[in-house]
């Protein structure tokens, strides 16, 4: 937060689904190279915040700045073009395409074939399981593998900012651990990450800073260690 110009900044963003006021003015910033967690209970508006950044739907009012550029009224594809990549909640892989075809679609906007091949190798290093299954239809992968594929696919676009929506959803504890260590590794190699999670403990372990949301508002923010120690937050979101 101390840095002069953050990679992403939300300023008093409101989002509406029809008449439902889902985001009631949230502000947050993410600096380059950071990993920031956005935690909160069901229906707090975490996913909406993420989707609003991606322009699905666009924000009703307020400003979203990415690298100093206003993106709040752009279409999703324009936003993705600027270097924001989303791993949607519930994975959203293309089930009737092979693993390889899924990854190829991640590079839809790129034409630097040599670099793409290099990134593919990197992604396979990160997720060796996927390499074994390149020709398998993505819909036949297990839940954990699908989550890995979704993250790998997002990485293939070489994003400046990676938005992860509930990567631990519906996964076995062991797998959750594995996914989170991979997320930390992706961050170490230079990708900025905004992580939305219900599994607040895990998220706070790998994130440097965190925002806590409730009913469409950001109620707390601070470093992960601060938030982990905050009694009211512990009671509300971390199960005591």
């Amino acid at each position: 937060m101390s840095k002069a110009s953050p990679l992403l900044a939300l300023e008093d963003v409101h989002t509406f689904y029809g008449r439902v006021h889902a985001l009631k003015g949230i502000s947050l910033t993410i600096a380059k190279g950071e990993i920031v967690a956005l935690i909160g209970a069901n229906g707090a508006g975490k996913s909406t915040a993420l989707m609003t950044i991606c322009g699905r739907p666009n924000s009703g009012s307020g400003r979203i700045l990415f690298r100093g550029e206003e993106i709040n009224s752009l279409d999703t594809d324009r936003i993705v073009r600027l270097g924001i990549s989303l791993v949607p909640e519930g994975r959203h892989i293309f089930p009737r395409m092979t693993v390889r075809e899924n990854l190829d679609l991640g590079t839809y906007l790129r034409s630097d074939h040599i670099e793409i091949a290099r990134d593919l190798d990197q992604v396979f290093d990160l997720f060796p399981l996927l390499k074994e299954r390149t020709k398998q239809l993505a819909g036949t992968l297990s839940g954990g593998e699908q989550q890995m594929l979704a993250i790998a696919r997002a990485l293939m676009s070489r994003p400046r900012l990676l938005l992860l929506d509930e990567p631990s959803m519906g996964l076995a504890p062991l797998l959750v651990k594995q996914i989170f260590s991979i997320i930390a590794e992706i961050n170490r190699s230079g990708t900025t990450i905004l992580l939305v999670e219900q599994n607040a403990f895990m998220a706070l372990k790998i994130a440097a800073r965190a925002y806590v949301m409730a009913t469409g508002l950001i109620t707390h923010s601070g470093s992960s260690s601060q938030i982990l120690l905050d009694d009211t937050i512990r009671a509300a979101y971390l199960g005591g």
Binding site: C54, R56, D75, T76, D77, V80, R81, S85, L86, V87, P88, H92, I93, F94, P95, R96, M97, E101, D104, L105, G106, Y108, L109, E132, R133, T134, K135, Q136, L137, G139, T140, L141, S142, G143, E145, Q146, R153, A154, S157
Partner: protein
């Protein structure tokens, strides 16, 4: 394997039964007809299919498979190598070309063979129009996954495009044809805008309405379209300016005069046949290429998951509009050809049943499969013609055949690989998987 063959033979015989299993005979001096069962024909079919299926099952072992170490390996069985090569000519993707070229050559040669009647050519010509329509709708429904029940509207736009351009400005077929495609594509995009946010059932209802609106406008705008009376004496296409009529119009030459041969009505028929054949082949080629293009991948991604598609940086608005536009464009071409073939059009030709037929072609053929849709189009036009002998029962027979096919082969005749997973996830042969451990993996 024998049991499998027996099963398939039973199903196919059951499918064939309504078509060839019985005959309706009108007895002299009696009213009504009598049903005669053709047990012999049914028996022949059953045994024939059984043998073919057994043979096919045998050849199937010649498929290339990947062994666990990852090496490509061809299984070797005792039968002569030639047989396996012939089979692979048709089986393996890379080897499909010679087979297609052979089929194309056969189709070109067909009108010049003896004992091929004008009527048969006429049916095939119509079938080729449906091939174009089916492949066009396949772009919208099969690739982009947008259920369009008003496709006939664009077909009508194409047909009336040519009809009206001729009537008001005297445009020739070749001048009007590109215009038909473009006007229809424009209508496609116009329809696309209001339905951008709709999917599935809602989209189907809006497109259904759109198709009807076009027909009703054509029917009621008397001063412009001549209403239910339609447009008549639309000229046939010419070959480089040569006409296929007995007597040329002023300033024109006829085909038979030019070549100094006797006039024959066959020429016209053969010309239309070859024209539509090349149009159908051209469409197949373009649609197949489109499918593997960047745009095609965007369509398929959109059909699979719209949110993820947008997250890939694909402009879904553009993808949808282009699918509607390009799909409609082919309907426009088909309409132009239809008007030229009939020489007469009226709104009656463009009712909802046409949309349903074209959609049936796409579903029967296997959504997203170019070859499958082509075969289905030919079947859907030709089967009712073959069943003409049953007079009023023929459409019932056709319907029974369709229902049976959908019950027993829901993925269509020649499905695109992707659909196999959805409908037969347990059949490891069809999944093209590298390793079989997939079956142990939990499915979503």
């Amino acid at each position: 394997m024998f049991l499998l063959a027996l099963r398939d033979a039973c199903w196919l015989t059951l499918l064939a039964f309504p078509l060839i299993g019985f005959d309706l005979v009108q007895k002299y001096g009696e009213t009504g007809k009598e049903i005669i069962f053709e047990w012999q024909a049914i028996g022949t079919i059953f045994i024939g299919i059984l043998l073919i299926r057994l043979a096919a099952g045998f050849f199937k072992r010649y498929r290339i498979y990947r062994c666990p170490e990852g090496r490509l390996q061809e299984a070797k069985l005792g039968i002569s190598n030639i047989v396996s090569k012939v089979y692979r000519l048709f089986d393996h993707r890379l080897h499909q070309r010679p087979a297609l070229v052979t089929l194309f050559a056969l189709a070109v040669a067909l009108p010049f063979l003896p004992r091929v009647s004008n009527a048969a050519l006429d049916v095939l010509t119509l079938a080729f129009i449906y091939v174009v329509l089916g492949l066009g709708l396949n772009i919208v429904v099969g690739l982009a996954g947008l259920l369009d029940l008003g496709y006939v509207g664009f077909y009508a736009v194409g047909a009336y495009g040519y009809g009206l351009l001729y009537q008001y400005w005297g445009w020739s077929f070749w001048q009007a044809l590109p215009a038909c495609g473009m006007i229809a594509a424009l209508f496609g995009v116009v329809l696309g805008f209001p339905v951008l946010r709709l999917r599935g059932d809602y989209l189907a209802i809006v497109t259904l309405g759109f198709g009807e609106i076009i027909r009703i406008i054509l029917n009621n705008w008397d001063s412009f379209t001549n209403g239910p009376n339609g447009i008549s004496s639309i000229p046939r296409p010419t070959l480089m300016g040569l006409e296929f009529s007995r007597q040329a119009k002023e300033g024109a030459t006829t085909f038979h005069d030019f070549l100094n041969i006797e006039y024959s009505s066959n020429h016209k028929q053969i010309f239309m046949y070859l024209l539509l054949l090349s149009m159908a082949v051209f469409t197949m080629f373009v649609v197949e290429r489109l499918q593997h293009s960047r745009l095609g991948r965007a369509w398929i991604a959109m059909r699979e998951d719209e949110t993820a598609c947008a997250a890939m940086g694909i402009n879904t608005t553009l993808a949808k509009l282009s699918a509607f536009g390009l799909g409609a464009c082919w309907a426009g071409f088909a309409g132009g050809f239809f008007a030229a073939r009939q020489g007469f059009i009226n709104p009656e030709s463009f009712t909802f049943i046409e949309s349903a037929t074209i959609l049936a072609i796409v579903v029967l053929g296997g959504m997203g499969s170019t070859v499958g849709v082509t075969i289905a189009a030919l079947a859907v036009v030709i089967i009712p013609e073959l069943a003409r002998g049953f007079s009023q029962y023929r459409m019932i027979i056709f319907a029974v055949a369709l229902v049976a096919l959908m019950l027993f082969k829901p993925e269509g005749l020649l499905p695109a690989k992707r659909r196999m997973y959805e409908l037969h996830p347990d059949d490891p042969n069809d999944l093209n998987h590298e390793n079989q451990s997939v079956l142990e993996v939990t499915r979503q």
